[in-house]
């Protein structure tokens, strides 16, 4: 019988306290225990990037982390990046408008990876974007639409900062 532990952590702003086997990966914990199936599992050994989530704001492959190691952390999955149930994140809008997805399997990993990347690199070049998503495999789009979406999203996020920022004057 495998060892079990009690862990508390926050996922998309909701606090959870669960008893889990120590050998459970964070990816399986999110999908099976919490039912958050937006996080996709492709290769399950750290190559495809589909399972990327944000752990305390940093992109991490959830198949390469044990769920017990996430105790005390604040996790954001693809279900948690939109500002509300009725709105998309500017990155998600840019993906829709630029044909950044076809089958959608790699999309959760692309989005979570790019949320961190665009936060740290608000004005990326095309080359920067291609390097940023080098750990995320897509088998439909040829990446062109994804790269366009990321560059478009960078512009949208900058526009958002201007209207919402202290200099914009018009904060909601």
């Amino acid at each position: 019988m495998s060892e079990k532990r009690r862990v508390s952590l926050a996922v998309n702003g909701t606090a959870y306290e669960e008893t889990i086997e120590t050998r459970l990966t964070l990816a399986d914990f999110l999908r099976h225990q919490l039912g958050l199936t937006g996080t996709h599992l492709g290769c399950e050994h750290g190559v495809c990037g589909a399972c990327t989530v944000l752990v305390d704001g940093y992109s991490v492959r959830s198949c390469l982390m044990l769920a017990v190691q996430a105790g005390g952390s604040d996790i954001t999955t693809v279900e948690g990046i939109a500002p509300s149930k009725d709105e998309l994140h500017p990155l998600q809008e840019a993906f829709r408008d630029n044909h950044g997805l076809q089958c959608g399997f790699c999309t959760p990993g692309m989005l979570t990876t790019l949320v961190e990347f665009l936060r740290d690199n608000p004005s990326p070049t095309e080359r920067d974007v291609r390097e940023a998503i080098s750990g995320n495999l897509c088998r439909c789009t040829g990446y062109q639409g994804i790269v366009d979406a990321a560059l478009d999203a960078a512009q949208r996020l900058k526009g958002q900062d201007r209207t919402a920022g202290p200099d914009g004057g018009e904060s909601p």
Partner: protein
Amino acid sequence: MKAAPFEYFVADSIDEVTTGLADSGEEATIIAGGQTLVPLMAMRLARPALLIDVNGIGDLQGIDLLAGGVRIKACTRQSDALKSTIIGERLPLLAKALPYVGHAQTRNRGTVGGSIALGDPAAEIPLVATALDARITLVKKGNSRELSIHGFYQGPMMTSREPDECITEILFPQWQGEGRRGTGFQEVSLRHGDFAIVAAAAQISVGEDGVCARASVALGGVSGTPFRISAAEDALRGTMIDDPALRAVANAVDQAVDPQSDLHASASYRRRVAKVLVERVIREAAREAANHAAGDAP
């Protein structure tokens, strides 16, 4: 459930790690970033009876500038090393290599000490450590020792670390004395972030007269361990790093490498790429040195 069952122990101090290792011997495995260990466990190629998690130990994290060089504690994340201004200013060769280590998502978990401990022959951090004569501190219960990176790697994924030892820090010595410094790092891989087919690193120091005073040239991916090419370094010292010197370097590389063929590249391809990359990193380092003020870091 992917991994076989294991006992899981979260260590709060280096003492707790070494005690755990002493009590459990080869049954125990340290988990740091887990970017290699977790998939190995998922495929059940690794089945440790006890996992000792070192991620919460403050004494194993941090980057410090000491009199003798830059000390990187073993559990420092690769992404933190990449953002470090100390490494950017004092260890430019490592700063150039770090973006090639995996991907952003794996660098956010993967650690500097974990990469050193694993000893993948194509990995960038062991290659830079070899180029810069790094020193590795290993601690076990009641004892500690410092080893040179030279001789630490005994073969692919094989190191001199004993099963009851924990790597606690890696010291990258700074080159002392005057002279203009320059570094170069290049690799060829199938895609960005993949394992290198061949990787090359160089650090040089040239005098005011443009003559090379010191050179370090190392290769990864062409042998069971990363290694220095001392004949290439000898061929550079005392020269203006001109075309004849670089031809001598290419000959030295040709003599020094004995690559294997595998799925990704033939031995003859690796040999050719090794010569080209070594020339490129030396040219890159020489260009940088020419633009540097004397006495600048590194």
